[in-house]
């Protein structure tokens, strides 16, 4: 419940303050957001499995975001930033799909 309120507050903050992304962060933010979403869905699945641990969630969240950003940064330095971003998105997308599938089984038994 508090988590859902937190999400709403975050969206509201973003809408109210209308901040602009610093130029240096612009390539990394989308990847970081997708990685965070992956962590969130993973956490939700673990919660439904009854094995949720907030410490694990925080660590997975932070590491997901930072590793995703690091990979994109590395790709930029190597000149393959676009391709590497696509790769990261694909991997995270697959993980999100599998996590959501597990969540779906829990909630709808289907």
């Amino acid at each position: 419940m508090i988590a859902a309120i937190g999400l709403v507050i975050g969206i509201a903050l973003g809408l109210i303050f209308e901040p602009s992304v610093p130029v240096g962060m612009q390539p990394y933010l989308p990847i970081a957001v997708v990685a965070a979403l992956d962590a969130v869905f993973g956490g939700l699945r673990a919660f439904l499995d009854g094995i949720f641990d907030d410490k694990v969630f925080v660590i997975s969240f932070v590491s997901n975001v930072s590793i995703a950003a690091l990979i994109v940064y590395l790709g930029d330095q190597l000149g393959v930033g676009g391709q590497l971003s696509t790769g990261v998105i694909v991997v995270l997308g697959i993980r999100i799909f599998s996590n959501v599938a597990a969540i779906r089984r829990h909630v709808f038994h289907a």
Binding site: G6, G10, G14, V33, R45, L48, F52, D54, H109
Partner: protein, 275 residues
């Protein structure tokens, strides 16, 4: 990753897709098919555990980043989602438009340059015409003139001087390069000037000249002076009649009287060929 430790759990679900019939006591246990849903419902009750607060903080971050990214994507690149072909087409059309505009600019520049030269030519013609007006005005006696020259004063007590003597004097002055001539400070001598003998003297353009006759002429003062006093000239002629001629060379004479020009009634200009 938080989901990985439970791979065996997932595997069990996939091997056993048919959920076991719901049993009341199994709902609370960890592996029951409804356990997840029950936990979700239970979590909806506001409960400030440490886990909830931590998750809420991270969710704030996620929501914030999400909105930020969506806004950035929407605000900055409209063409990010366009296909390559569309972009090439767009680029081509923009280039064509740019070329059209460039050629328009060129033609307008050309027009501007031609108008500019037209204006310059007109300005030059105007300047020449103004100069012409000055020259012709002095020649025709329609504008005042000033400059160096001579003032010739002729006294003729016996009233023997007629129009022919004055005319000779004027001709001599013109021959010596007089550019503007005035008689008695009242009559401008021009091409149309006529001198007529009358009973008590001379009329010029219908105006009676009073003695002494004063001829003012603008030109080279020395040359004009010579034109008066050469042997057999105006001075000798007047002195034979018993009169006297006094010539003063002046550095600045002003001729203020004007000649009224009338529109020619009979004479018309001949059209110039090609003009």
């Amino acid at each position: 990753m938080s989901s990985t430790p439970d791979d065996d759990h997932q595997l069990r679900f996939e091997l056993d897709p048919e959920p076991t019939p719901k049993r009341p006591e199994s709902a609370a246990t960890r592996g029951g098919p409804d356990a997840g849903r029950d936990r979700l419902i239970a979590a909806m009750k506001p409960r400030a555990s440490r886990a909830q607060v931590v998750v809420a903080v991270l969710m704030v971050l996620v929501g914030f980043g999400l909105v930020l990214q969506v806004r950035t994507t929407h605000s900055t690149n409209d063409f990010a989602g366009a296909r390559r072909g569309d972009l090439i087409e767009l680029l081509d059309s923009l280039e064509a438009a740019s070329q059209r505009t460039q050629s328009q600019i060129d033609s307008l520049e050309e027009t501007k340059a031609s108008l500019q030269s037209d204006t310059d030519r007109n300005q030059a013609a105007l300047d020449a015409a103004r100069e012409q007006v000055q020259v012709l005005g002095i020649l025709a006696g329609t504008i005042p003139a000033q400059g160096p020259g001579v003032r010739i004063t002729i006294t003729d007590p016996s009233k023997a001087i007629g129009s022919s003597t004055l005319l000779n004097a004027l001709e001599e002055l013109r021959d010596a390069g007089a550019e503007a001539i005035e008689l008695n400070d009242s009559v401008r001598v021009v091409a149309q000037t006529a001198l007529v003998d009358v009973d008590d003297g001379v009329q010029v353009d219908g105006i009676q000249l009073q003695q002494p006759y004063v001829i003012e002429a603008i030109g080279s003062a020395h040359t004009l002076h010579e034109a008066v006093r050469f042997p057999g000239g105006l001075r000798d002629e007047v002195e034979t009649f018993g009169g006297s001629v006094r010539v003063r060379e002046l550095s600045d004479i002003e001729i203020a009287s004007l000649h009224q020009v009338e529109q020619p009634q009979y004479a018309q200009t001949v059209p110039q060929p090609g003009g």
